[in-house]
Symmetry: C3
Subunit: 268 residues, 3 copies
């Protein structure tokens, strides 16, 4: 157990991420630190939870995943650690962990309290450096999560929920855009399992997606299966329906963004 991943809203212009890494290496010089992203929009708990939910399964067992999107830093919000599917996750108690485990439950949930494993001075505004990094480093050195604090009931932690797609009558499914990626691909709240189950209702009909009055007919198997600058829908790499434009930005071309409704129906 030597790998620590970092997911934060600290950005890359300040020394925040560097200081966190220094704090880790001062405790475990052998730790491997991998950045998931530091460009979570400030205080965007939903995005932080989803980004980590979609990336952690690609890491080796026993990885320690640290997520610091923490508007309540220095106040009385708790810091939690969970063991879940062979990994450890550290995050403030603000809903991030609920997004990661989804409808499942962690094997253990601990409130991180043991100051023996924190930095000796703890600032009011930067627990990433003073609490999360040292605790993660100690975990990679073999300290047990249970040593770091008290077990708590996961059911009593702060909840955050991904909106589920809604069935409208017999032949429509309504979701929304969650966010766009760097390419302008629009990630929707419609997951593959729900979608495929829904499409089985009329297997002989072509599915039609409606976004801002624009209709996209049929699922694509690759971006270049349609002409350049043409919209398409595709099951993306996270197992969710995405709306894209071949060699273009669906966000710009469709004028869509977080919250834009996305409706799936069938050709007439």
């Amino acid at each position: 157990m030597r790998i620590i991943t970092l997911t934060t809203d600290f950005g890359l212009e300040d020394e925040y991420v560097g200081s966190m890494k220094g704090a880790v290496l001062s405790i475990n010089p052998e730790a491997r630190i991998i950045d998931i992203t530091h460009r979570i929009p400030p205080q965007d708990i939903l995005r932080a939870g989803l980004i980590l939910k979609w990336s952690y399964p690609y890491f080796p067992e026993n990885t320690v995943h640290v997520c610091v999107v923490d508007p309540g830093v220095g106040g009385n919000r708790r810091i939690l650690g969970i063991t879940f599917r062979g990994a450890i996750f550290l995050a403030p108690d603000n809903g991030i962990l609920r997004l990661i485990v989804g409808d499942d439950l962690p094997e253990a949930t601990v409130e991180i309290l043991n100051r023996d494993f924190f930095h000796k001075d703890i600032s009011r505004t930067f627990h990433g450096r003073d609490v999360f990094a040292p605790v993660a480093a100690h975990l990679t050195r073999g300290v047990h999560l249970e040593t770091l604090g008290n077990g708590v009931d996961f059911g009593n932690t702060v909840q955050a929920e991904l909106k589920k797609p809604i069935r409208q009558g017999d032949d429509h499914l309504l979701g929304e855009v969650l966010f766009e990626d760097r390419f302008g691909n629009l990630l929707t709240s419609i997951d593959q399992i729900t979608l495929l189950h829904f499409l089985k209702r009329f297997p002989e009909k072509l599915p039609v997606l409606n976004i801002r009055g624009i209709h996209i007919c049929g699922m694509s198997e690759s971006y270049d299966s349609v002409a350049r600058q043409t919209p398409l829908m595709i099951i993306g790499s996270r197992g969710y329906l995405e709306v894209s434009v071949n060699c273009g930005s669906a966000k710009d071309i469709l004028g869509a963004g977080p919250g834009t409704p996305v409706q799936i129906g069938f050709e007439k």
Copy 2:
């Protein structure tokens, strides 16, 4: 052989780069992963090829260089691996590798096909994570490139060419701006060898560069050899002519960008 470099257009806001690194470490926890850049403009094959061409020579022998700028992902474009000058390069068959080898040829060219070395599930939109990363990780564990697919003729791969500078009459050389860097320095298509050869025609005369009607007389040896906010020309760190402004942005001050003509002549 433990080092893997990554050059992509994935940006740093999403989980894409983190997931690729997780996929590598799941196969080879000892791999060293170095980011060249993830901020290639989306689908900009020319820039991706040049960025990697200019950086790979600084890495140790046997480094595995992975370049994923891949608008054709999930379609029928091939994925290629080459051995070239003691390193391995993996990229989609879209011209990137041609830009790297230039007028030279790789020692071996292989179409990557062997799914035993891919992730067990392969998404339609993210072969960086599901194909490139696992394949690179296996290469750093000693798997031979030839094991990964079939040898192909490099001459039949997709071509992309850097425009060469053009001689105009006896005393002019015409190139163009390729792109600007973070500082606003303008990298031109005029390489040092062509330039020095050209300048030997009138060794007693001062060279004069013309960009958007502004004339720069004489080559500089350092940025601060001219006054602040003054344009200059200099042989940059990549062995190409660059147009710069001391402590300023040549891009902004000269209003130039990719495609702007750059002409070299001699003082009257």
Copy 3:
């Protein structure tokens, strides 16, 4: 001694940082390279020095800290190495090192001159890759700083000074905004020690901060101790007074930035 940190204004869009890392690994494949930041604004020596001053204490002993914000590259500015508080710092002689040591002095100061430890070809514009990276790599392999050049007098190096807060009469202290961070928090030039000493003058009175005519009464212990979108003042993680807005950007909401005066007084 295996850790090298990098603080530069090279940005992340070009190959500059990747090439530096390749140059390090070609000399010491075991070196650990940690990015502090590469997004120092171009040529911003003050910010570079402060960012490194605030992060280096979190790294293990014997770390080699490399800071390349270097508008004078290729000219006759010197490159310096110092040993200071158990670490080594490499930077151009342009004031960065003075900002790091503050009112203190380094244990040793060396002008880096020994070309045996540079790259064999040295470009005019990129000493980060051709000088700093190779020198840092050799230092992590056990080469002594003194081997790399000649001892010089730190007092004769270029000076850069952080403006100190100014006492106005009996009951006011005047500082200024140094810069904002990613969240829009405004870091001021008023350090904790000066501030706490000043506040002892009227320990029974609430301190009041005035920034652009807006008054903030009382120090906060955490961001969420005030209502959302409300300004507050707090001792930040660097030991300086910061002006923040709970879940918002103080920079945007207060319209402040580098140089904005910040005055501390007492309630009437």
